[in-house]
Symmetry: C2
DNA sequence: CAGTCCCGAATGAACGTTCAATTGGTAGCA
DNA sequence: TGCTACCAATTGAACGTTCATTCGGGACTG
């Protein structure tokens, strides 16, 4: 991965921040330009169009999420530990990158999100699938489609992060653990 | 609830359908007007602005979802049965009303969604909370905040519906049941 | 001087909204 | 029954604004 030019990075960051505040349509290119300390024309030096900017930003954001998953799904650690690490890792990542989370959600629910590659080719989900596949192989999880397990787990992380981030719900450490435990109880074979 | 004028209804339906296909910003009022078989000006007879139209449509859509929850959360039916009924009822509702689901998701993740009332005043979630509260009282569910339980359950429904609706995942009847069962296993007090 | 990076005023299309005009229906009255 | 007055519903062309994008040029680099 080659380093990303300063201005390009600034454009990325500004876009994410502004989209979170003003929404997809509510952030004109001129606003991005001003916020990023860049001329309007400069954006078009780096991106073909607004749509391309948005798509590239999505991919960039996804890379970051992928890095978190990759980091937490370590083969050498016991599966159950790994499971909780992953949940916490992703949850913390989303909480610390609210701009990204909000941008993500807006993107996948917009028409852009419609023409994404099939889920098997999605690098983020592929990693998740592989991880849960491992859990099944090792006899830790119920023998259910790994896609189902991954989706269930991820949706619980996302919805928890969204809810607490918006301030619509406050959770202490213990409650967060309860959520993870419920998920584990539902998915695991044991007991 | 007084009956909604024909044209107003047509505008609602067209907006929902078009927003699903073209997204929030991608559907100009002129497009809504043409699709609804109505003049542009007519929309402004019923709605103050585009924003008002969108907000009213959201409320209208929410009413429908509320009706489903109200129908399925019957006090006289055993809690566990009710739980599965609710899951299936909502899931089926979303699957049969994709326009609505997509509109919903776009709305709550847009800046509009930011200034919604606190969750306690949200009629939809209040119903859900009450239902899960009942489960706790009756000793069927773990003594966890009903808000957590409700959120977890609903997010599993939403993500399942979204994924299958987009065709990114296909689930047969048995797999749907497995999802519900995992959820139940996680949330219920074991005996 | 060729190439890259960057600027920001200018452009033209698209959009939300307005409004003067038209229609259709209904209530009041003789 | 016929006449008038009134109002809500509806129309679509027109308006003013906003926006994504373009482009001619400046500045720095090798």
């Amino acid at each position: 991965m080659e380093p990303i030019a300063d201005k390009k990075m600034a454009i990325f960051r500004s876009t994410m921040e502004l989209v979170r505040e003003n929404g997809f349509h509510g952030t004109p290119m001129s606003m991005v330009a001003k916020h990023a300390g860049v001329a309007a024309g400069t954006i078009y030096h780096y991106f073909e169009s607004k749509e391309h900017l948005l798509r590239e930003l999505f991919e960039y954001a996804q890379q970051q999420a992928i890095a978190v998953v990759a980091k937490e799904t370590c083969e050498t650690i016991p599966f159950k530990t790994c499971f909780f690490n992953l949940w916490n890792g992703l949850y913390t990542f989303y909480r610390e990158n609210l701009d990204l989370l909000k941008f993500f959600e807006q993107f996948v629910n917009s028409p852009f999100g419609a023409d994404r590659p099939p889920i098997e080719q999605d690098k983020f989900y592929s990693l998740l699938f592989a991880f849960f596949e491992r859990g099944i192989q090792q006899g830790e999880l119920k023998p259910v489609s790994s896609k189902i397990l991954a989706t269930l787990a991820h949706s619980s992380i996302l919805s928890t992060a969204k809810l607490t981030a918006q301030g619509r719900l406050q959770l202490n450490k213990q409650e967060l653990e309860e959520i993870q435990l419920m998920l584990w109880d539902g998915m695991s074979l044991k007991r």
